[in-house]
Amino acid sequence: MRDLTINIHHVTRVEGHGNIKVNIKNGVIEELNLEIVESPRFFEAMLRGRRWDEAAHITSRICGICAVGHTTTSLRATEAAFGLEPSEQTVLLRKLIFNGEMMQSHILHFYFLVAPDFFGMGSVIPLASSHPAVVQRALRLKKLANDVCAVVGGRHIHPISMVVNGFTRIPKPSELREMRQHLVDAWPDLQATVDLFSTLSIPDFERQTEYVSLTNTKEYAFYDGVIASGDGGTIPVSGYKDKIKESVVPHSTAKHASATRESYMVGALSRVNNNYEQLLPKAKEAARALGLKVPCYNPFMISIAQLVETIHCLEDSINIIDSLLSKGLKEEDTRVQIRAGTGVGACEVPRGTLYHEYTFDEQGLITAANLIIPTAQNVANIERDFRSIVPTLLDRPKEEIALTLEMLVRAYDPCISCSVHLLNVEFV
């Protein structure tokens, strides 16, 4: 029986700092951890005493990659606390910028972080010389997604114009028309992306787990919905603490989360598994071409699910722009009535369900905050996958085992900077 020690310090091509530790003695797993070593930043504590209209701009700074997701979820939590229903125009614009971020985050992940593994390279940089057309296409698509965000919010990273109950600047119809044309022009690039990814050999590994995501009767849920589990049942977002249990473990500054089982998955694969029927036609077509059949239990297929969602978001963005242009855009009054209370917001951000909960006093100052981040929900599940896949690899060379584990972590697209900002579920 084999002894094996793997120690990967700071896994690369992921957002944030994590280590993989494997220690096997005589074929028996003694230690198999994904250590989250990112420095904790304590946003929940930093929010205390800050004003209601600063929460979105502060929490946006949790993560550069999902800044729009944090901003949107934060605004929704504040609106829930104040009892506000934003206008149809506000909701459409938010869904549009949300699509922009979803596309940019997914494209960054499957082209820049995941694809190099399949070309046997350490990064996208050598790919620029060996496969220039692929890299140029990836950059074009990423730029398009960033531009969608910039038209709506001023910029993708830490958007400017998104505020409680509306926007400080409404895009001009001419900007939206131009953006619509760019989106339409991008179909051939996405088709070429589907063609490329359908040729990659995704590692063959399955482990069924609990798939958790928002779900919504009207559409594929990103912005709004109730919490659904692949194991059955739904609960309203405000009851999230009944569903999710968090615990602190010594080897991770991100807490571990569990629901019905000992771990669960959030993110693109959970969403596709739970809400496949609501994907738009071109996305379903891509899923078929890419061999993604639901339910899918292979975590390496997360990147494929992200590509399917990217296509859905592009189609949806065109529909939203058409709807905005036909209704006509107008300046709206964003003033709000402050009141004391608690509100929960939840959205499907690129890596899964994000929860923000704030409590405000009569002046609109935050007295308590709780944030639950997608990556933190996935960490326990990644470790369960480790335990399932490592015994099947023990006859392989150490380098291959290490690479497979890195690829597995990368498949989940962890956003580690984000994940270390958790608060106890019980308010202190």
């Binding site: 091509r13 420095s39 930043r41 800050r50 820049f112 140029q136 730029k143 001023g154 830490h158 400017i160």
Partner: protein, 245 residues
């Protein structure tokens, strides 16, 4: 030989590194002019041989101090990338709370697993040669600084207020819209993007040299802000700056 560059991160959101990756139109040219040898967010290969280090993030615990000192020893030029690295940024909000309490709020009775200390900018730990400000950094400013360094020139970092760029952008003054703003004392270079998109300047780029803070505090108070609200505005990104902390 192409100059070797490393990009590093400490406590932060990695949005400034992402801004570098978002230079979609210029990235391939940039890669033609320099050799990136260390960029954990984007590549697997790592090397300790680099001339210029771009460093993102705030220093918030002991282990980070040693790592930053190592980078400083190896790099000929060290550039602070973004507000967290240059001025401390949003992470300094933590410093206005009791740190023991902060740890217990987040990690409960397991707080002792996780060390932390008062957030500080890079220059509180090692000498910093240049800084690119902003939360996040503007793309253009990164390119301008990178170009200057490659030409062995001193980068031109603005030392005038955001108001100058806001006027050039032909925006209606934020104060005239009934809001308040930190533009009059904040270092320009962002092309006043926040007022241009209908919001106020939150001071993410830190202060100009010799800002008239007291006078601006008075202006804000005349506009109806309480002393606490004035301080809160300055502390959002500037909690580690002299004259604010």
């Amino acid at each position: 030989m192409k100059p070797k560059i490393g990009i590093f991160d400490f406590s932060g959101c990695e949005g400034c590194q992402l801004t570098v990756l978002s230079l979609e139109d210029e990235l391939l040219d940039l890669l033609g002019a320099v050799e990136i040898v260390n960029f954990r967010e984007a590549m697997t290969e790592r090397s300790d041989d680099y001339a210029i280090a771009f460093v993102e993030g705030t220093i918030t615990r002991e282990g980070e101090v040693e790592r930053l000192k190592g980078i400083r020893e190896r790099a000929k030029i060290l550039v602070a990338l973004g507000s967290c690295a240059a001025i401390g940024g949003i992470n300094c909000l933590k410093n206005f709370h009791n740190l023991e309490e902060v740890r217990h709020i987040v990690y409960g009775d397991k707080a002792d697993y996780f060390e932390t200390f008062a957030a500080r900018p890079l220059k509180a730990v090692v000498p910093v040669d240049y800084a690119i400000y902003g939360c996040p950094i503007p793309k253009q400013e990164f390119l301008e600084v990178a170009k200057a360094l490659l030409l062995a020139k001193k980068p031109n970092i603005p030392n005038y207020a955001v108001c100058v760029e806001c006027k050039l952008a032909e925006n209606i003054c934020v104060f005239d819209k009934g809001m308040t703003c930190l533009g009059p004392v904040t270092r320009a270079g962002c092309r006043a993007i926040c007022p241009t998109y209908g919001n106020k300047c939150e001071g993410c780029r830190g202060l100009v040299d010799q800002p008239n803070i007291n006078s601006h505090k008075e202006v804000l108070r005349e506009r109806g802000l309480t002393v606490e609200e004035v301080l809160a505005q300055f502390r959002m990104f500037g909690g580690c700056l002299e004259g604010i902390k």
